[in-house]
Amino acid sequence: MTQNLPSGLDIVTRPRQVEASLWRRLRFENQSGCREAIFRNYTPSPRNSAPNFAGGSYRRARRFRAASIRRPSGGDRPLRSLARIDIRRVCQAKNQSHRRWSGPFKRSRRAIQPAAAHQLERLRSVSSGVSPSSGDYIAEVSDLAIALALGLIIEQSPHGDITGEASSINGYHSRDWQELQHSVLREIDRLPDNEKTVLQQHYLHDVSFKLIADMLKVSKGRVSQLHRAALEKIRARMNSMSKLCPKSR
């Protein structure tokens, strides 16, 4: 197993200082990007906490972990709780957030249903770019399906949680599947910041468009546009790498 050794600036940075720097720049200098970086830093906490409240049951722990990924905190609770953190004691901030997030897991004893609303958001976003005047319905449906499929690839990537579907992929397909996932994730990293944020937050952290809009301080419609544009760019780049079927128009 290869270790990811620190490189570049990571060699000298100290996590607590980096965190304090993000808080300082967000609260006192209003620098863009800091809020998102802080949210990304705290988002994994509920996923890690979920098994602790599963009563030792492995099956229940898996349901809680999946539930935390689909709905990490109950709506906009993370952003609200971040806003209340006393940044003078930022070294303790993660513990404060952990206590706030632990409440929903303790109260709930059954898995939260999949976020159908998120799926509807995605569908509306990708279908808004389809022109009905072309008359080629097969092509339009294909375009929609490919865009939604890209989203599913991202959602099931190693950064998210594979909730058991991967076990149905046999050994011959899994390597191709992983390579495809890695290719898509690499393409996401090449996107402009806002588009990258929308895809990462929505698919990897199950954040709604509304919450992403609050985070980026744009409208929900703009997030939908960014989502569609990002998927189209990834598709175009993947096409050039011959990983996907070309557009049929």
Binding site: T13, R14, Q17, A20, S21, W23, R88
Partner: protein, 90 residues
Amino acid sequence: MQAINANPEGQLLRVENLLHEFPDDARLHFLYGSTLIGDGRLIEGHRALTRAVEIAPDFAIARFQLGFFQLTSGEPASALQTFGQVLQWC
């Protein structure tokens, strides 16, 4: 420094009182900032070090300390700007 190490909280209060008396003394701000950072009060420490460099731009050790702190806080651009002046003196 020995007094602060022996009784951090009491001496920190003493530095704060001295700062009230001498608000434009860069050495006090530098001392205050360094102590705060050592105490884990990173945001306040950064503010104090920045103030020390603002008051005395030629205060090399304060400028170096601030630049190093910015670098280890993941602010390379700010660190370069801070170090830039020190490099000009070399």
